[in-house]
């Protein structure tokens, strides 16, 4: 009930103040219309100079700079090629992946981001007192000249003269006595024996 009468009081107040509100609003509308025309003309001029009426103010630019993360590297989607490149050859590529840092960019992907801002490479200053490091020259191995030698191949067999060169007289086989355990039958002994050949003599 109290809120009902509060609304009633507000209604009375609004009715009393309404004429002044309307007058103020009408004046504001007229002023706003002139400002609109002024800003429209300004916007047209800015358009033909290559700018825009709605471009950022200096405060906006400064605020964006301050709000930007310190290392605003574009996060690229990790593909299979990236993973394979990270796991393959190269000591620089085999760095541990920092999974805790959301803005972590591996070294092998930083080449793309570095293209945007190329740091000025300073020329290395070489101090005269300390000579620059020079690697030791590699020892030159002189190759000894190869002496040409005739290859003498000794055969593992005894050469025999050709058959045509051998005379018939020379073909004499050497007699060799061969001992055998078999009983020999001498022809001059027991010639008359006509038996079966078994020697039954008793000494």
């Amino acid at each position: 009930m109290i809120s009902f009468f509060k609304n009633f009081g507000k209604g009375v107040l609004y009715v009393l103040v309404l004429p002044f509100l309307l007058v103020g609003m009408a004046l504001y509308a007229v002023v706003a219309f002139f400002v609109f025309i002024f800003l429209s003309i300004k916007g047209i001029i800015l358009f033909f100079t290559g700018r825009s009426l709605y471009e950022d103010l200096p405060e906006d630019i400064e605020a964006k700079k301050r709000l930007a993360p310190p290392q605003a590297a574009p996060q690229t989607a990790v593909t299979n090629e990236d993973v394979s490149a990270a796991l393959n050859i190269g000591s620089e590529q085999n760095q541990p992946v920092n999974t805790a840092d959301p803005f972590y960019v591996p070294e092998y992907l930083k080449s793309e981001s570095e293209e945007v801002e190329e740091p000025v490479q300073e020329e290395p200053v070489i101090e005269e007192s300390e000579p620059a490091y020079e690697p030791d020259p590699e020892p030159v191995i002189e190759e000894a000249p190869v002496q040409e030698q005739e290859m003498v191949v000794k055969p593992n067999y005894i050469e025999e003269p050709d058959v045509e060169d051998i005379e018939e007289d020379e073909i004499v086989l050497e007699k060799t006595e061969q001992k055998s355990n078999i009983l020999e039958i001498k022809d001059d002994e027991d010639d008359d024996d006509e038996s079966s050949g078994v020697n039954i003599d008793f000494d």
């Binding site: 009902f4 509060k6 609304n7 009633f8 009081g9 507000k10 209604g11 009375v12 609004y14 009715v15 609003m25 504001y28 509308a29 706003a32 219309f33 400002v35 609109f36 800003l39 429209s40 916007g43 009426l53 709605y54 103010l57 405060e59 906006d60 400064e62 605020a63 964006k64 301050r66 709000l67």
Partner: protein, 236 residues
């Protein structure tokens, strides 16, 4: 002189009904005003979104700078919101202007209701003959006479376009204007609240005690000696 007013039962009922209607009308106006206030607060919140970044990042650090910056952004947003409304209004005005130029009728009444105006598509009542006073009688109340029913007229085409554009563009422009006023009010509120240095609820002694407690916690404390006296080893 004493005037005795004798009211019949019907008169009392009529007065009571009129009083009730009177109260209800003002309550309704109060609710409408409350609704408009809520809408204006909602429109004013847009300014927070526009000016938040430079204030949060401390690019803007004083009240004067804030007002200058917020005013610029406020007017730019008004232009952005209202340029379509202005274009609609201009189109309607140009249509009416060309119509007057071609017909050379500079006394053209846009709201005429018989043949050439926008009133041809409206219901028109004649309220001039509602109250009559015949001879020998008091006031007589009559119902208003209907003098026009909606019908299309070819001659009134320019008024149709002009009045339609006027209504749409005008309402659009007034809403943008209301938003502009809301943001302006919000700008003055924020210029005082965002850079206000207040000691409300501040107690220096309490703050000193808090600092001392914080320093005590930061100093390294000796490691507590483990107390094994209460260890009742039951696994004997």
């Amino acid at each position: 002189m004493n005037f005795l007013i004798s009211l019949s039962e019907n008169d009392k009922r009529l007065i009571f009904a009129l009083l009730l209607v009177f109260i209800l009308v003002f309550v309704l106006i109060g609710y409408i005003g409350f609704l408009i206030t809520r809408v204006m607060k909602w429109q004013g919140r847009k300014l927070d979104h526009i000016v938040a970044d430079p204030v949060v990042t401390r690019v803007i650090t004083d009240k004067k700078h804030f007002k200058r910056y917020a005013r610029k952004k406020n007017w730019r947003l008004f232009v952005k919101q209202s340029y379509i409304a202005v274009i609609i209004l201009l189109v309607g005005g140009l249509v009416l202007l060309f119509r007057d130029i071609f017909t050379r009728d500079w006394a053209y009444n846009v709201f005429e209701y018989k043949q050439t105006g926008f009133g041809t598509i409206l219901f028109i009542w004649d309220f001039s003959k509602c109250i009559t006073r015949p001879e020998g009688m008091g006031l007589v109340l009559n119902w208003p006479q209907l003098i026009n029913t909606p019908h299309l007229e070819a001659q009134a085409w320019a008024s149709y376009i002009f009045v339609t554009c006027l209504i749409i563009g005008g309402i659009w422009y007034l809403i943008a204007l209301q938003a502009l006023i809301s943001r302006t009010i919000r700008m003055y509120q924020l210029s005082t609240s965002a850079f206000e240095k207040t000691l409300e609820g501040f107690n220096q002694n309490q703050q000193a005690a808090t600092i001392a407690a914080a320093r005590y916690q930061e100093t390294p404390q000796p490691s507590p000696v483990p107390d094994n006296s209460n260890n009742n080893n039951t696994n004997v």
